[in-house]
């Protein structure tokens, strides 16, 4: 089976609407150098670099790994670029971990970023070839109908989305890197904001951020003697086609299969009880109850009850997104990696004010495309 893999360094930038103080390389280096500093390493110690980001159209730089190789000290080293839509941050982490698990390298630097302020995400995402037969209107326009289906199917009351929007923004107040920090955030405040794509209100959607995140991953020998590594207990990716007859878009099979795979590897049978917290890709409020069901934290149709009961709050029995999540910071290509990194920080006991007390096992999750691409890992304090 695969070799053990540890997270030994994590670095994040401050997430902002516009990081006008740095170039693209400057942004990426900020995260990379912080991760190296955390691991007490330099570029010279790194065997390989894996870079992830969402579509190149965002910054108008095609295959930017070529240009970024110099900035990441990668001369003479292997450099790879992963792109799997919104799940890319998670997939990038898994490709990097795969290099360790496959016994190819001992220390891998993984970096993901997005500098959305260089253009406009809606433009980049809505650039369709001519003659397309279908009408798709931005990410919110794509996901809102499926949220409506969830509400209809589960019978969830209307205010559940609002609860998630508030909870994640309250969590963000404790996170020094978070983009949206809304003092006094409340249900009333969320409900006063305009309906963008009914049933989604403005404050129920993620922001558009500039930012980068990085991790240093290490083999068992390279992690020896390292201060507080996080160990990978399970890692998996799954994909399914975007449109096909009989597809369950609310509770996609690929997400269920991916979760079953990571839990199987980690020996988890009851995720709500056996995990201490989860960093899950929730770009629109309602995806928390939807993913609670998809990831097996409860039965189908029951997710909204966990949210309503406060089970996923910072003080709840299974905190979801103690960092504030994608709803509080969303440099698209990095958002998945941030989930994976925050999960690692929790089990390393290095999550600062976002630390869930005694966290020893955590889930990192990312999804993308038409809720069709999934990447997940379970990390833990103990070496597996």
């Amino acid at each position: 089976m695969a070799n053990p893999c540890a997270v030994i360094g994590v670095g994040q930038t401050e997430y902002r609407t516009k990081r006008l103080d740095v170039s693209i390389a400057g942004l990426v280096r900020e995260a990379a150098l912080r991760a190296l500093e955390d691991a007490d390493l330099t570029f010279g110690d790194i065997d390989a670099v894996v870079i992830g980001k969402a579509p190149d159209l965002f910054e108008g730089v095609m295959m930017p790994e070529a240009y970024l190789a110099d900035a990441l000290g990668a001369r003479g080293k292997p450099v790879m670029r992963v792109h799997t839509a919104g799940s890319v941050g998670g997939s990038t982490a898994l490709v990097a971990a795969g290099l360790i698990q496959g016994g190819v390298h001992d220390r891998v630097l993984v970096v993901a970023y997005e500098k959305q302020s260089e253009s406009n995400a809606t433009w980049a995402l809505s650039t369709h070839p001519p003659m397309t037969a279908s009408l798709v209107v931005g990410a919110g326009g794509y996901f809102a109908p499926h949220i409506r289906s969830y509400i209809r199917r589960s019978g969830a009351p209307d205010h559940i989305g609002t609860l998630v929007a508030v909870k994640d923004r309250v969590n963000a107040l404790r996170n020094p890197y978070a983009h949206l920090k809304i003092e006094g955030i409340s249900r009333e405040m969320v409900e006063m904001t305009p309906m963008l794509w009914e049933p989604l209100r403005y404050l129920e959607t993620c922001p558009s951020s500039d930012g980068a995140a990085a991790m240093v991953l290490a083999s068992e020998s390279a992690a020896r003697g390292v201060n507080r590594p996080a160990w990978v207990h399970g890692a998996a990716m799954r994909s399914e086609p975007i449109f096909f007859a009989g597809r369950d878009t609310v509770n996609p099979q690929a997400g269920k299969d991916c979760a079953a795979d990571v839990y199987g590897q980690a020996g988890i049978t009851d995720p709500r009880r056996e995990l201490d917290c989860a960093e899950v890709y929730v770009p629109f409020s309602w995806y928390e109850p939807m993913w609670l069901e998809n990831l097996g934290f409860c039965g189908e149709g029951e997710g909204w009850k966990l949210t309503e009961q406060g089970a996923t709050a910072f003080e709840g029995d299974i905190p979801w997104n103690p960092s504030g999540g994608v709803l509080s910071s969303n440099p698209i290509g990095a958002s998945g990696l941030i989930r994976f990194a925050e999960a690692a920080q929790q089990v390393r006991g290095l999550a600062g004010d976002c630390q869930v007390e005694g966290a020893r096992r955590a889930l990192g999750h990312a999804y993308g495309g038409g809720a069709q691409f999934y990447a997940m890992w379970v990390v833990g304090t103990e070496k597996p």
């Binding site: 103080d21 390389a25 003659m131 279908s134 009408l135 798709v136 409506r148 009914e198 086609p241 096909f244």
Partner: protein
Amino acid sequence: MSSSAPNHALEFPGGYTRSVGPVIGRFLTELRDGRLVGVRTASGRVVVPPTEYDPEDGSAVTGEFVEVGPDCTVESWSWVPRPRRSHPLQRPFAWALIRPDGADTALLHALDLGVFEEGAKPPRELRTGMRVRPKWRSERSGGIGDIECFRPDIAMINDSRRTEYHLPPGRALERFLEGIAEGRFLGHRCGVCGKVYVPLKGLCPVDGVPTTEEVEVRDTGTVTTFAVNNIPDPRAPEVPFVSAYILLDGSDLAMLALVAGVPADQVRMGMRVRAEWRPREEWGATMANIKWFAPLDEPDVPFAAIKDHL
């Protein structure tokens, strides 16, 4: 690429807004003032154009900026007998790697050797080792283009981008749009699973096999689910507008389309709709033949009948 006008372009309106950070920013600022600077690396070399890092090993550079040039040496060159529209000079010129005196690395720029006929051979004086200087623009704005080009000693002389394409619709979409041009919705039935896909794809995404059996379905269908959009879109008549998944009668896959002719707050899951076609004389091989889907005067379909299409 074919010589006709392109039918598709990627061009972010107004151009990408690139923040440059402190090192590139310093270089560009000096450039605007007519000076060429490099940055010193930890190992003592001078990198031009300066980056935040030493391209050798990625280590951070020192904060020391060094004025270099204006005398420079050509380290390598290529000759462009027929410049492209995107090139900085519209007559034959050279691309050159140019190392300013005092620098350890070279920068890429255009080298102007005077007036030549299109297709001209490289001039004899163009050679590696040749000494050149920058030609500054009189109006400078802080970009690499503040140097109009380089030119030989003594003798003489924002990031907008657009990529154009000719994208074919593909055989399947072309066939589907042929049907639409005749007012018909065409689908394919998969030979393995028997499901009908409209628009036809030519393959079944589940079974991964080609499909060929053509099926015509009606222009009526059922709204499975929808969003009410309050953000304007050029394809929609007004705000709010409804984008809905519509399961055409006889199809097994709902397609996303506009629903109108009914107030947005009266659209329902299970609502029956029909395509609202533009006048026949305006039809072409395009989805624009259909303005939107409008409600039919029929009872709603029960939720149980659509729940497997969500």
